[in-house]
Subunit: 459 residues, 2 copies
């Protein structure tokens, strides 16, 4: 194998090159994301509406469409120094395997114990909770990636952390639960007897294995009914995309260091936390007319909100207790087929990304599960890293683009986000090895039925 | 938290600062490690004795007591570039938590998919097998750390990889098995019907859940009876310590870059692969009289070969088919109590480390399991990384030394090896959280009974 030494295998920034402010892409959007709507009043939510649920500083960030750069507080920066900068890796071995003239880079966010990029926002949200003098925070978790990140963050700031974990995951995925316990979090299987909504659901559906929608409702209730607690969320929200911009800022700084200009930027898309963070500064340049990039969102074919959803107001949660958001949505009652790319199962999409997609600033594509795992295995064998199924959607699209370059002979530069590792997804890998993977794709009729139930809100 | 910025949180070498040669500490030892003895002839083993089992180049490395530096072949170096240099981390948060004046550094080897330092030697052994034109290699694995590393390495060089995995682990730890399958390895539960020794054991002990000794015997038989195969091993051997010297060389280069001179160097010790690699260049200076360091091996109290074993010739394997080695041993029939620090359960110790310990160049200490997990949890909560139980033995000893500094006010510099991550050890963490951990320590009587059975060989 001959490796061009001019660009190192891994580009690490020095600590003094790490970003000191997050970038808020909303500041550069002509069409701002549509405001959240309070389902009670039918009017845009105010800070006062949100403050019983979220920390005050985070409410400010959520509603701030104008400030381009928000300084990263020193305590958060010091935590970032523990596991950041993350490497921007030149995928020399994958390029050679594919025999492509394309140059492939990936930003790897899995080198921390939470195993994903989720920690970037978890530490920020924990910091503001601590700063506000709160006792603790509540959240929900499905597979456990976000819960793990949040428990690490809370442990660092000595905050109480209460995680409602979907019961079926709690029972079938005890490992992530134990990681959270190691960091001192209390983990409650949801639905539980600890909340009104939990008790109600248990009474109506004895023996239920729970759902993310139910866990969200329990976590929100636990927050608003406990003195000194707030609720936190790991994706979808504007504040989360803001914190995750650290991914894109580091990526851009690393590329700039070697005068590399990407042609294509690819990220997997569930609620949008990784994609929104990765593309932020590049999208900023595009919005300001300073540069052009192809930006591609990759979603699972089983949960295709951007590619097949409606751009409309919808409830952010299945329980319909949270504000309504204007976004690409499959309908808040949509339940994707059992699908192991856990974090890409959300029915909607970040309002920021939805607006940008609507305005033609990015593309979207889908991949079926088996193809995603084929790409994951191919990547693992040459690049060493065992990727998370979520991240592998981006790998699949990057490989496809690199193979197109092979056909045309173009030496395009492709950058994709590798959001995390697959250590806790080996049941899915086992299904793939045994040929038992589910490649379900919802039918048009199915989706139309959900669209028919969308709330009638113009915003 | 105030952090002194002069020393970064993580010291990364640039690629051009990475070591280009392994360091063979035997070259600087006045008392060389005693030679292996062929149990058939009672004489020191020759290259010809070993070549049916091991690759020729590795046999040379195994027997070479004189060459100080052995160049790292370009293909191995390029693979190292995928996941190395590993970071040398300044444990600022742990120091603050302990309120110690000590300065603590750890060399973190867990940032690769195999999750440990084992990959450093796996890629070297796979390379030499490929270079010799072999079809594949065989090995055994217990918990699966070494098997995972080897499967990654073989996948990179397109070599067949046959792993005999102790049956109880195969069934109870399906995750590591799936990682190995992702990398294309064939994984056989041992004992199996695929070897004579396997069939014999199954006939004599129907329903047995297997043992590492049995898996070694099967892997060796599979290698010598298959055209184009050799056997490989992940610890204990001189060649393994040679390859692992990359850990110590990088550590030393990173420290030198900031003019840091360690006072104490700590590593966990099972067969010796990590400890031997970490300390190599420091031990070299000590042997040559150029510098002095306290070097501490930490073993589990349940398997205390250095601290309570005999320095004597013993069989390297339970099946007594491999050569005999002069080492600190608990007797090759010694079976440690069920103990989740899987890789530290070997009855013996590297002959190199045994000789160095015997000659007074290093110290050894033990820790009981519960204390190890307490240290692991404390470390995880402040430093973010979820450590492997093996590595956590070193954490425990480092914390103890740092607390001594707190008492005396000494600002000692402590460096320890953090060999890997604990993602696949969460059953053990769960036991710890539930207060069900086993702190068994063998009695003197027990050990004496094993010592009485040691072979009577002077060497």
């Amino acid at each position: 194998m001959s490796i061009n030494k001019e660009i190192p295998y891994k580009i690490y920034l020095n600590e003094d090159e790490m970003p000191r402010a997050w970038y808020n892409v909303r500041a550069d959007m002509k069409n701002k994301p549509a405001p959240l709507i309070n389902p009670g009043t039918g009017k845009p939510v105010t800070a006062a509406d949100l403050e019983p649920v979220f920390c005050s500083e985070l409410v400010k960030q959520e509603l701030d469409n104008d400030t381009a750069f928000i300084p990263i507080p020193e305590d958060i920066f010091n935590f970032y120094r523990m596991y950041r900068p993350s490497p921007l890796v030149r995928a020399y071995c994958l390029e050679e395997k594919l025999q492509t003239p394309a140059k492939i880079y990936y930003k790897f966010e899995g080198n921390n114990t939470s195993g994903s990029h989720k920690l970037n926002s978890a530490i920020a949200q924990a910091y503001y909770a601590k700063k506000q003098g709160l006792k603790g925070v509540t959240t929900e978790t499905g597979a456990g990636q976000w819960g793990t990140a949040l428990s690490m963050a809370c442990s660092y700031f000595d905050l109480d952390c209460r995680v409602y974990m979907v019961k079926v995951s709690y029972e079938q995925k005890p490992f992530r639960r134990e990681v959270m316990r190691t960091y001192g979090a209390s983990v409650t299987p949801s639905p539980s007897e600890t909340t009104n909504i939990g008790r109600k659901i248990l009474q109506e559906h004895p023996g239920t294995t729970g759902s993310l929608g139910c866990a969200i409702s329990e976590a929100v209730e636990a927050a608003v009914s406990s003195e000194g607690y707030r609720y936190v969320l790991g994706s979808v929200l504007n504040q989360v995309l803001l914190h995750q911009s650290v991914i894109g800022l580091e990526t851009k700084a690393a590329l700039d260091k070697y005068d590399i200009k990407p042609d294509i930027i690819i990220g997997c898309a569930g609620g949008g936390s990784n994609l929104g963070g990765l593309i932020a500064p590049f999208m900023g340049e595009k919005l300001r007319g300073e540069a052009d990039y192809r930006i591609i969102a990759v979603e699972p074919a089983s949960c295709p909100s951007l590619t097949r959803g409606k751009f409309a107001y919808d409830f952010a949660d299945t329980g319909k207790v949270c504000p309504m958001a204007k976004m690409y949505t499959l309908g808040c009652d949509f339940i994707p087929a059992p699908n192991h790319a856990g974090c890409l199962r959300y029915h909607g999409m970040s309002t920021i990304l939805s607006q940008l997609y609507h305005d033609g600033y990015m593309e979207a594509t889908t991949a079926v599960q088996t193809d995603v795992f084929k790409a994951a295995e191919q990547f693992a064998r040459v690049e060493g890293i065992l990727p998370a199924p979520e991240s592998s959607h981006a790998i699949k699209a990057a490989i496809d683009e690199a193979l197109k370059c092979k056909e045309t002979g173009e030496e395009k530069t492709i950058v994709f986000g590798l959001t995390g590792t697959g250590y806790f997804d080996l049941v899915a890998y086992e299904k793939f090895h045994n040929g038992e993977m589910d490649d379900y794709i919802p039918s048009d009729e199915e989706l139309e039925a959900y669209f028919a139930k969308l709330p009638n809100v113009e915003g």
